[in-house]
Every structure is written in structure tokens, then in C-alpha cells.
Amino acid sequence: MSENKKNLILSVKDLEVKFKVRNKILTAIRRISMDFEEGKVVAIVGESGSGKSVFTKTFTGMLEINGMISNGEIWFEGRDLAKIKSDKEWEQIRGKKIATVFQDPMTSLNPVKTIGDQISEVIIKHQGKSKSEAKTMAIEMMGKVGIKNAEKRYDEYPFMYSGGMRQRIVIAIALACRPRILICDEPTTALDVTIQAQIIRLIKDLSQEYGFTTIYITHDLGVVANVADVVAVMYAGQIVEYGNVEEVFYDSRHPYTWGLLSSLPQLGEKGENLFAIRGTPPSLFEEIKGDAFAPRSNYAMKIDYEQEPPFFKVSDTHYAKTWLLDPRAPKVEPPAAVAHLHERMLALTSKGGIYGER
């Protein structure tokens, strides 16, 4: 999509992922092409089941056993990750080059192994260090993610840590081998709001220090507005809008993005019903004709039901996949809730707001 080809770290072309579910084929990712620039923070947003997690799982070969990449290429460091079959090859990438942080820190750590063991394990595995070297590095890493008394807490077990602390450990493990990409799969969903802000801050700081690319998967648009450089909106296994964070938030073009932004609970007015996108996402078992969002859209046109829209360029960095951007389409105004988003969002993310620094 991006014309600007410099410093691409990961490049996805025409990716299609299928799952075999009860003898039926489900297409979870429907031909996505997307480039990731080095050092940027990319947020992938969308409702549950839109394929956000599946999309990023293909980067580390972590698809479930019944899933497979049926088409497309994923270029990383000069090799096509979509072609990798053996676990042995994946082990060179997973955890070493591309690391993942999962949603629930309470269950991400092995309950019967010490924190220290779980961190040094990766260092020993990927960097071939001795046990004592790995321990030194692990303790240093624990300090980096904000664990006090790291030396003492090295031999403690996960149950002795709070949720926020555990997520810090998970991040320490993920970053222990200095990966080039960090995938954060809803890293703060299971945490309470104050801890959320701390964890997001931590990831942001570390990404500046170590210079890794961050891919956030989230449906929390507040988080997105706070940390992301680039936002990709996903719907029904496709990216429907893509652009810099300001562009997607304040100049969004796709009706689905409008819907998402309108339903932000933080933006709701007291006393009014919270906005909800009507209907449900389409079944991915069947082939989708036209624009997948059309049946739920208030702006659907006849062509939306017949032909899949291409990506229309809004700016050099901003693209949206909707027929509304076609010159022949009638002029429509985004809903009122989205219109004054800028000021309201600013209030939320500035100091003192819900997502602001504390």
C-alpha cells in the first residue's frame, strides 16, 4: 500500500488464511497486503473475530493446528515466512526476532517455574549463554521492566506477583532476546486501568530504547490513540482502513471506522444510549460478495452488494476500502459523534485524561 518503501521490516502480500472447522473451510484472512515500517508502532483494531490475532499469528507460525496459509507471502529479513514449515526454522524467528505478549498475564507464565527460570530459559535458548550469564541478563531485564529487588525476586514464583508485575515479566521475557518486532496481543485487556497505562508506557519507553517495531492488537481505541503511529482497521478478515493515527481518528473515511469510533464508551454522552453497530459480522464460512460491511452500514450503496471495493487513496499514508471514496459516489457526512472527535480525544489522552500519563 505504502509507496514509501524505505525501512520496511515486514511486508505482507496477498495473505489468505484458512481454517478447517468441522469439515468446513473458514477463510479468516482474506487477502491482506500490508507493510510494516521499522520502529513504528502499528495498531490493528477491529471487533472480535475480525482476524486481528490470526493475522499476527502468521508472523510467528503460531496458527492453530487446523489453520493454514493458503495464499500470499510474508517477507521478513529477506525470507518468506509463509513458506516456513518446520518448527525448527520457526524457533529461529519466534521469540528471537519476533516476540509476542499475550492478553492474560495471570496465565501466560508457568505457575510451577520460577520467574528467573522462565526469563533465562529464552536467553539460554536463543543466545546460547551459560546459566549464570543468562541470570545476570535476566536480572538486568527485570530491572528494565521496573521490577524492584530483581535479584531477590528472581527465584520467586508467578503466584507471588500481581497481575501488572506478571505482565512486566512477560514483557521482559519477550524482550530478553532483543527482538525486532514485538506483537502485543491485547496486552492490557486483563489489567485494571491504572496498570494499563503503566504497561503501555513501559512498552513505549522500551520500544524507543531498543528500537523494535510494535504491533498492537486491540479493540481499545483509547490505547491506540495514545501509542500508535499507524492504525489498521480490520473487518471480516480484511484491512478496511489504514493510515496514520491522526488520519484514521480525525479524518476517517470508512463507515466501519465511523461505527467503531462512535461506539467508544469514553465518548458517550451521559444519559444517552451508547452507539452500537447494528447486526453481526458476516459468516466467514461463505464467500463474501461485495463489501463485507455493507449489510451493517447505513451508507451502503447498490454496488457495495455487488463488487468488492478497491483501496482508495486519501493521502500518501491514508487508504480506505469503501466505494464512498469513488468519485461517482454521493457525498456523505460522517456521523456527528465522529465529527468533533479531535477535541474530545485530546481531552482524554492529555495529562489527567483516562489514557493520559499519570
Binding site: G95, A99, L109, N110, V112, H126, Y157, F159
Partner: protein, 491 residues
């Protein structure tokens, strides 16, 4: 933690006594006392008054009742001199002698000969009281009753005659060797505290029940040994087991300088407990040695050939009744020239053990495999496994370092019980091979109305089960850091 263990032990002991008490009450009050004589050869030869008197004496011995014979009645009432007149047939003095007992609540019964006797059947609480009163025996220097004024009563240090290690000896106690050391489990042996469950009846009459279970079997085994007197001869006597004997004969005097000459003997074959234990332990090691790796392999290759083969094996072994399996295996064994009865080749031939051990082991494998597989598959869906994969660990490393560590926890909990309860033997397997082990002790004892034996076995099995659960729980704290045993909350 310490407090918790203490409380747990206390609770365990209470449970053991509760169980044993219930068993005692059931045995003594619910089973007709006459059934005791159903299998007694002695009673079968008697009839009439002789039989009645015999039964009363035995029942008193067994703790059912307090029996006062006619002779005793008369002696208490009229003294040694007057008892003959009282005992004479048709004497009215008999009534007179019995009267005080009737007043005490004794039943006064009359034999066919006209002689009277008094009987008091114990109530359930009296039964319990009497049982526990005689259960705990602490040996002391005053244990031996003798009129000899020169009899020395003291503890002193001597040597274990078999290995020369120090041994605490006693003169005046029931047992000469109070404490000694040797190479057999539990290495430190003592005779200071004992549990007295009474004697076995009607089988092994007069032998203490504990001795029936723990004494060696088969012919006596003679070994060369030196006695106190300096006499060295080949003898089967176990010197460390000697008890006080009021009257010693010239043979005893040749060996011992004191009256401690009532000794147990070495035997060719191990005791019932040991027999079961040897078989059980070897089988257990084989079962875990086979079951665990197989279970792990099944979980690691879920839905693949190994897994399917394992499931077929598990299903087969669970579906086939164990009795059928045992006899089937036994006949396979005979094809390879292995004996179908344990005593054919006896204890000293390894071939006697192969089939019983193999069968015992195989019977344990299905549940072991099934549970380990299930725990591992459960664990492999956990989030930490997903994260471990994302860390770049290989499937093998994840299985070994992460999943197994978690899945083994519930298995570890059951290991002490498996080890300890080997003692109780395996009823069906041991019966099929006629192994002289513990397996059939309890059913046999019940069948023969061997009350004391039943109580002894219940006590042993209950204690072992309860304490093996406790040990299992303690072991859990070692393998699972999350578990800390405390009365309330953690530390």
C-alpha cells in the same frame, strides 16, 4: 507449616482410632460370638459341659466376656479349704457363692452337672476400654514377674551379636534387646514400645497377630552365630528377638547366661508382609517405568498412531476383567516355562516372581497412562504453553520443561499411597498364583472369624492409608510452589 503437620497427624490418629473403634464394636456386638468356634478344630471334638466350659474360657481370652467358673466362685466365697464342699454335686453353697456375682449384674448359668458359673458380657464401651488398655505396651525393667530376690533389674549397653554395633539391652524387661541397629529396614529397631493386638484364633492359635504377619515363613534357616556363653553353633534363633522365659532348660543354658531364651527363628522365606511388599514394589517400579513414558508419548503425539495404540491398550485392559486377564497372562507364562503357582519354585527362584510382578505392573499401567495423558493434554492447552511456544521453545522443550512439570503434580500426590499400600498385597493376583502374601489375609481372617487378626489388619491398613495421604500432600508442596500447607491462608 509445622503446626499444620502436627494438627494433621493428630487428626489422622483420631481417624485411625475412630475406624478401629467402629470395627471393634461391629465385630464384638454384631457377629454372634459362637461363630468364633465354627472353624476351631478343638471345639469340634468336645461336647456337653466340656464344650461349654471351653467356649467360655476362650471367649474370655478373646475379650468378649468375664467368665467366673464354679471353682472360682467357690474359692472366692469359701477359700481353698471350703471350695470342695461347695463344688460337691447338689451343694446349696453354690447358690450362696454365686449370689454376690448376681448382685454385680453377672448372669448365673448352670452346667448340666449342676455346677454354676457367672458370666458378664461386656458392653461396647467396656470392650473399647479393655482393648485400648492392653493395646499400648511399654516395656520396662519391672515387666518381668519373678520371686527371685537376686534378679537384677537394669538397662545396659551391649553389642548386637550379628554386627557388633551397640545395642541397648535390659534385664527385667520382657525383651532383652530394647534397641539395636542393623542393615535391614528401618535400620533402627526397638522393642520398647509395642502394639498388642492379642493372639490369633482359630488359625495360628496363640501366636500374636503381629507376629503372624511379620514372621518369616517356611523352614527354619540356620546360620552360624555365637551366643552369650561363647557357644558358636549353627542355629535358627534370632538373638535380638529373645524374650524372658520363666523356666530355662539345659539347651537354653548352653546358649544363654540369663533367662532370655524365648526367641523367634530365622526362616527360609520372607514374611507375608515382605512377600507382598517385594512383589508390589517391583511391580510399582515397572508400572511407573512403563506407564509414565508411554503416557507422555501419547500426550505428545495426540491423535497419532502412538496415542491410538495406547488408547486401545488402555481400553483393552480396563474392559477385560482383571481375573480373566490374570489367568490369561498366567497361561501365557506357562508357555514360556514359567510356573503357574508361586510355591512350585519358591522364593529363591527368580522365575516365581516374573509373572505375578508383570501382571501386577500391567494392571496398574492403564490408569497411570490415562491420567498422565489427560493431565498433559489439559496442560498443553494452557496459556503458558502458548507463550512458551511464542518464546521460541521447541515442542520437546515445552513438553519436558513446562507441561510435564505441571502434569506430574497430581500423579506425585498418589505415589506415596502406591508405595505404602503395596503392603496390603494384591488379593486376586496373589490368590491366582498362591503367593503367601498379605492379599488374602483380611478375607481369610474374616472368613475364619479371626477377630484379633481382622482388627490388626484394619488398624494397619487404615494407618497406612491415612498417613500415605498425608505424605502425598506433603510431597505436593515440594513439587508445586503454590501449595503451602497451613491451617488458614498462606504465610
Amino acid at each position: 507449616m509445622k503446626k499444620y503437620i502436627l494438627v494433621r497427624i493428630l487428626k489422622s490418629i483420631i481417624s485411625i482410632f475412630a475406624v478401629v473403634s467402629i470395627i471393634i464394636i461391629m465385630i464384638y456386638t454384631l457377629i454372634p460370638s459362637d461363630k468364633v468356634f465354627d472353624n476351631d478344630a478343638g471345639a469340634k471334638k468336645m461336647k456337653g459341659d466340656q464344650l461349654t466350659t471351653y467356649k467360655m474360657k476362650k471367649l474370655e481370652e478373646l475379650g468378649y466376656l468375664d467368665y467366673v467358673s464354679g471353682t472360682e466362685l467357690c474359692t472366692t466365697a469359701f477359700g481353698e479349704d471350703g471350695k470342695d464342699a461347695c463344688l460337691a454335686a447338689g451343694s446349696t453353697q453354690m447358690e450362696e457363692a454365686a449370689a454376690p456375682y448376681a448382685a454385680k449384674g453377672y448372669d448365673i448359668m448352670t452346667l448340666k452337672s449342676g455346677e454354676k458359673y457367672a458370666v458378664h458380657r461386656f458392653k461396647w464401651y467396656e470392650l473399647l476400654l479393655r482393648f485400648y488398655k492392653k493395646l499400648f505396651v511399654v516395656d520396662s525393667v519391672n515387666a518381668v514377674k519373678t520371686d527371685d530376690p537376686d534378679f537384677e533389674r537394669k538397662y545396659y549397653w551391649g553389642k548386637n551379636p550379628y554386627n557388633g554395633t551397640p545395642a541397648l539391652k535390659c534385664s527385667g524387661c520382657t525383651y532383652k534387646y530394647q534397641m539395636y541397629f542393623d542393615g535391614s529396614f528401618p535400620f533402627i529397631h526397638q522393642n520398647k514400645f509395642r502394639l498388642d493386638f492379642g493372639t490369633s484364633f482359630p488359625t495360628s492359635q496363640g501366636v500374636p497377630t503381629m507376629q503372624v504377619i511379620t514372621d518369616g515363613q517356611g523352614a527354619n534357616k540356620k546360620i552360624d552365630q555365637t551366643f552369650d556363653t561363647g557357644l558358636t553353633e549353627s542355629s535358627a534363633l534370632i538373638q535380638t528377638s529373645c524374650q524372658y522365659k520363666p523356666k530355662v532348660d539345659h539347651l537354653d543354658q548352653k546358649r544363654f547366661t540369663d533367662n532370655y531364651a524365648a526367641c523367634l527363628s530365622f526362616h527360609e522365606s520372607p514374611s507375608m508382609v515382605n512377600t507382598s511388599y517385594i512383589l508390589g514394589l517391583i511391580a510399582l517400579v515397572i508400572a511407573y517405568g512403563m506407564g509414565l513414558p508411554f503416557g507422555i508419548a501419547m500426550a505428545a503425539n495426540k491423535d497419532k498412531a502412538v496415542d491410538k495404540l495406547g488408547i486401545a491398550y488402555i481400553n483393552l485392559l480396563i474392559a477385560v476383567p482383571s481375573l480373566a486377564f490374570i489367568f490369561f497372562m498366567r497361561s501365557i507364562g506357562t508357555l514360556f516355562g514359567l510356573p503357574d503357582k508361586f510355591p512350585q519354585l519358591g522364593f529363591n527362584d527368580i522365575r516365581s516372581y516374573i509373572m505375578p510382578v508383570l501382571i501386577l505392573a500391567l494392571l496398574q499401567t492403564p490408569s497411570l497412562m490415562m491420567w498422565l495423558r489427560r493431565y498433559m493434554i489439559d496442560q498443553s492447552n494452557a496459556d503458558y504453553v502458548k507463550f512458551a511456544r511464542a518464546k521460541g521453545l521447541s515442542q520437546r522443550e515445552i513438553f519436558r520443561k513446562h507441561i510435564l512439570r505441571n502434569a506430574i503434580i497430581p500423579i506425585v500426590n498418589g505415589i506415596p499411597a502406591s508405595i505404602i499400600l503395596c503392603i496390603s498385597g494384591a488379593l486376586i493376583t496373589e490368590s491366582a498364583f498362591a503367593v503367601p502374601g498379605m492379599g488374602k489375609m483380611l478375607p481369610d481372617a474374616i472368613k475364619m472369624t479371626n477377630n484379633n487378626m481382622v482388627i490388626t489388619l484394619v488398624f494397619i491398613f487404615t494407618s497406612l492409608s491415612i498417613f500415605s495421604v498425608l505424605i502425598g500432600d506433603l510431597l505436593m508442596t515440594v513439587v508445586d510452589p503454590r501449595i503451602s500447607l497451613a491451617e488458614k491462608g498462606g504465610e
